[in-house]
Amino acid sequence: MKSIINDIKTRFEISDIVKQRDNFNFLTCKKEQTVSLITHLKNIEGFSHFVLLTAVDWIEEGKFQLTYILNNPDKKIDIGIRTFIERETATMDSAHHLWEHVATYQRELKEMFGIDFPGSPRVDESFILEGWDDIPPYRRDFDTKKYSEETFFPREGRTTNDPTEYMKKKLYPDEEK
């Protein structure tokens, strides 16, 4: 694992190496180099299995974080590659040519976060939300509760309790605050 990371370090601009487990490291890469880094890992280092691609919305910093997780079935090691893209433009290079199923992840991200992957097959088609016309629901500025109340005819009389307070009252009614 260490030798692989040291080798990558010499070839790509890598920062923030986080050791999750002995056989699982996260590293952060620049946006432009990410796809070539993944290609390198797949073709040279034997990370032949693509586990997942997911995104995090860092709304305060105005960035999306994309995480690609790869797996090397022979050496039984995983590697996670993080990259940050601008929230305004929200465009990323597509990696669908490396694994076919990456296109599905990218289609989902396009729908849920509005991150575009130009050139990815069927990326513009709706995936789960058929005919969605609001802002993508996984963006943090989307208020899901408000949307639900406006759209889905909430039943009146529903009450919500704070779980900590409620359980305290239920389980230990005698206890003082």
Binding site: A90, E111, G114, D124, S126, I128, L129, E130, G131, W132, D133, D134, I135, P136, P137, F142, T144, K145, Y147, S148, E149, T151, F152, F153, P154, R155, R158
Partner: protein
């Protein structure tokens, strides 16, 4: 912001499948004619109210209907996992005349088993409308009552009775198979009492149900009523 999703452009055309679009076709004999598959291939006539004719006969028929509930094998949420045990030796729903059917045409009961996503609702409506009257809806779990733990989700409905007439609710998250059996017995009582007229209710308040359905199913690309 809303143009991030370019689904809003050309709404009408975007959602129709290629073979369902209106187009002009040249026939084998050279005559041009226009076809509109949504109109030509589907019957979108509204459903009608069918009132029971004779009270005494109807009472007997309702007994037969109650004792022969054919359930559509359609699982929507987590509750669909509670249905297969019904057929096992432990619960054995066949004792009560409950049988599973694989096609909506032959079934008389549809179980909405748990949370219902908007995408699934569209399929549920199609299946429900293809069932033949009289038909009954059994709603399982608190998600169908008030949204349950998904009450604030952007993609699951809160109240099922706004989209189709519900006969019996079975509360719980998830209700166990025993509760489902109790729900079946409740449904039987309702049918025998002649109060389970969901299909007629649906036909009566058709416009209201359709307006509710169309409010949340934004890519409405099917006929108004699926025969």
């Amino acid at each position: 912001m809303s143009d991030i999703n370019n689904n809003t452009n050309n709404k009408e055309d975007k959602f129709l499948a290629e073979e369902n679009k209106k187009r002009t076709v040249i026939g084998p004999d050279g005559i041009e004619f226009e076809i509109d598959p949504l109109k030509d291939y589907f019957c979108d006539q509204k459903p009608e109210v069918r009132d029971p004719k004779n009270k005494v006969v109807e009472k007997f028929i309702n007994w037969a209907r109650a004792e022969s509930l054919w359930v559509l094998g359609f699982g929507t949420g987590c509750g669909s996992i509670e249905i297969p045990p019904l057929l096992t030796p432990r619960f054995d729903a066949a004792r009560f005349g409950v049988q599973m059917r694989a096609t909506p045409r032959q079934s008389s009961v549809i179980i909405i088993s748990g949370y219902l996503a908007v995408k699934t609702l569209k399929r549920v409506i199609r299946s429900y409308e293809q069932m033949q009257s009289p038909k009954y809806v059994l709603a399982l779990g608190s998600c169908t009552i008030n949204g349950g733990m998904y009450y604030d989700s952007y993609n699951t409905i809160n109240r099922l009775d706004y989209y189709m007439p519900v006969d019996v609710y079975v509360a719980g998250c998830m209700p166990r198979p025993e509760a489902l059996l109790a729900g079946f017995n409740k449904l039987k009582e309702r049918i025998k009492a002649g109060r389970a007229e969901g299909a007629n209710e649906y036909a009566e308040k058709f416009d209201w149900y359709k307006a509710n359905q169309k409010k949340i199913i934004k890519d409405w690309n099917m006929p108004d009523y699926n025969w």
